[in-house]
């Protein structure tokens, strides 16, 4: 696979930026891993830059996230610690206390205006950990002795990235699905905006995996979810996944207060359930736009181009969100629309 060409987003034309993954930054310690080998073969023309510790490259001061988005690089590194994180405090968990997340890949090939990764990481380059087995083993260990043995263990594996969108570069989603297939009392969420279900089509559906599609009206996708597939393509992929027997979650998150949202969202929900029969949907999550205040501040400094950062928000308890009654109204509207299709106990709300 040649490095990924992107349509031009530059005054001087598309040819001025290097394509994505024109360079592979490889930690010395990652050299011998099969995943390193696989990625090098996928990008035979990439320039290899050897790195002692990937953080020297990734954490440099003065990087500009949005400028780097024009030509993202791929880092291959060995994850040394932090194989699995307790996420029970800050993620949607359907009321389950054994909620964890892991980061097999950090950063994302897409570029959503509202993405918190812009505030979290100093760099837009992607880091692929080549020792996936170590992360998977850590998950299995926690699953063997979960803090609350009566509850299943929930794992978000696509928390700081879009794993499925990356599957053509490295088959991480497939690897995680297979690695966790037999863990008892376990459910892993792979959340995506990708239309790339094809890459999983040959896999036997796993009852331990739920494929979660983030869906937004095209009126949100066009201005705010740059580089992502259109709604119709996502719906098509999600419908195929459900037909193939995968558990399917629909995520209406973030719901944005766009012009005419009161009419846009009903039409959108209608479109969703026309494409995907409600009987094939396992559950739904709904959340209005919200972001940690410190990420919001960092991102706003870099995003003079997005009106999303210039709304009239409430800043409370370290969180930025729409002021009430808007926040509540956005969620309530989408919730009542969803209630017409799915029972309440299968709809989770995040305010």
């Amino acid at each position: 696979m040649p490095a990924i060409e992107k349509p031009g987003s530059l005054a001087s034309g598309p040819s001025s930026w290097n394509p994505d993954f024109s360079h592979l930054y490889i930690e010395e310690g990652a050299r011998e891993y099969p995943l390193t080998d696989m990625v090098r073969k996928r990008f035979p023309e990439a320039t290899i830059v050897w790195v002692k510790d990937y953080r020297h490259f990734f954490n440099r001061p003065g990087q500009r996230f949005q400028v780097q988005k024009h030509s993202m690089k791929l880092v291959l590194a060995v994850k040394k610690d932090g194989y699995i994180y307790d996420g029970s405090e800050n993620a949607q968990d359907f009321g389950v206390s054994n909620f964890y997340y892991t980061t097999p890949l950090i950063n994302c090939i897409y570029n959503c205006d509202y993405c918190f990764l812009q505030g979290m990481y100093p760099s837009a380059n992607l880091v692929l950990y080549v020792n996936q087995e170590d992360l998977q083993e850590a998950v299995k260990q926690v699953a063997r002795h979960p803090p609350d043995p009566k509850q299943p263990l929930l794992l978000a594996v696509s928390y700081n990235t879009d794993l499925l969108a990356f599957e053509k570069v490295a088959p991480l989603a497939s690897s995680w699905i297979d690695a966790t297939r037999d863990i008892p009392r376990f459910l892993m969420e792979i959340r995506t905006k990708s239309a790339n279900f094809r890459v999983l089509a040959d896999l036997e559906p796993s009852s331990n995996t739920i494929l979660a599609w983030t869906l937004s009206p095209q009126e949100v996708i066009r201005p705010y979810e740059k580089g992502t597939p259109p709604l119709s393509a996502r719906l098509n992929a999600a419908a195929k996944a459900a037909q193939a027997g995968w558990k399917l979650r629909l995520c209406f998150d973030p719901v944005l207060k766009i012009p005419n949202w009161e009419s846009v969202y009903p039409e959108f929900i209608n479109q969703v359930f026309t494409a995907i029969p409600a009987s094939q949907v396992t559950d739904i999550t709904i959340g209005a736009f919200r972001m940690s205040a410190s990420y919001f501040k960092t991102i706003k400094r870099q995003r003079a181009d997005s009106d999303l950062f210039f709304d009239d928000y409430s800043h409370q308890d370290g969180l930025v969100r729409y002021k009430d009654p808007d926040q509540q109204a956005l969620v309530d509207t989408v919730y009542s629309l969803c209630k017409a299709h799915l029972p309440k106990d299968r709809i989770d709300i995040w305010l």
Partner: protein, 286 residues
């Protein structure tokens, strides 16, 4: 050179590295720069000649950057020793990382723009190296005496992606014995001036991300409105945020705001608040 968003600052160490650039780009010597040797032209190109070594390089780069305003792309160009005797003298490389021998730190460059030059890593040493140190990685094939310092100075004053480094192979270490004649140095650089010119054109055209959120006209109108309605600081900020939002959504602000200014101004605090609420709704709903 086309006019673009960024100015270019060349940083060289030796007079013989400076001369071909001065001639090629039509740079003029700047007077009143004290001990610093610097040049510029009317097209947004500048050059500072630092002298040899890390400290002079850092000081002169810092000086030059402080005399320039706006967005500046720094290009360090110079000669370097090469560890690979099969690489022909006179070969040019674009440097993608710099290992500072003295401190053991490695600095990486953002390789964002497309180019045809081969890439490599460079080590910056305080003396010419003859025996390559063990700490050097396999892709660090060049050695110079300034690059890490120019990079650090540039990064103090600008974003990481505004530093670029090109090195031309002059020797293979002490035992290689370069002939450091000015004409010889110039002859090594001369063949690469067209490549450099392409890079300059490419960098000068890169669009900088928007930093100012209102256009000068819009900003002027905002100031007028603040004065006209005697808004408090909080109200002024609210109005600015709404104007930015409306402007980013593609609304032509001037006609609407000019029309607002033609009406009588609110007199009391209560009227001001209502006036502001009305104006903000108008901006968001238009």
């Amino acid at each position: 050179m086309p006019t673009g968003a960024s100015q270019i600052l060349f940083v060289t160490a030796l007079p013989a590295e400076t001369k071909p650039l001065v001639q090629h780009f039509g740079l003029k010597r700047q007077t009143q720069t004290g001990k610093f040797v610097s040049f510029s032209n009317a097209k947004g190109l500048a050059l500072v000649q630092t002298g040899v070594g890390r400290i002079p390089a850092a000081v002169a780069t810092t000086y030059a950057l402080q005399t320039l305003t706006g967005s500046v792309q720094v290009i360090n160009l110079g000669l370097a020793g090469c560890r690979d005797a099969d690489t022909p003298i006179g070969s040019i490389f674009r440097v993608n990382k710099i290992h500072e021998l003295n401190t053991g730190r490695t600095f990486f460059l953002d390789m964002l723009t497309r180019g045809s030059l081969p890439e490599t890593g460079c080590i910056t040493a305080d003396q010419p190296v003859d025996v390559w140190p063990d700490t050097t990685m396999e892709d660090e094939t060049l050695c110079d005496m300034e690059a890490s310092a120019v990079l650090q100075a540039a990064r103090q004053l600008g974003p990481a992606d505004h530093f670029h480094c090109l090195k031309v192979v002059s020797d293979y270490g002490l035992s290689g014995g370069p002939k450091w004649m000015a004409e010889w140095v110039e002859s090594l650089l001369q063949p690469h001036l067209s490549v450099l010119e392409s890079l300059v054109e490419q960098l000068a055209l890169l669009e900088e991300p928007a930093t100012s959120t209102l256009s000068p006209d819009e900003d002027h109108l905002l100031k007028e409105l603040i004065e006209y309605a005697r808004l408090t600081t909080t109200q002024a900020n609210q109005l600015k945020t709404t104007m930015v939002r409306a402007s980013l959504r593609g609304l032509e602000l001037p006609p609407l705001l000019t029309q607002t200014l033609a009406n009588p101004a609110p007199q009391h605090a209560r009227d001001r608040k209502a006036w502001l609420t009305r104006l903000r709704s108008l901006l968001l709903e238009s």
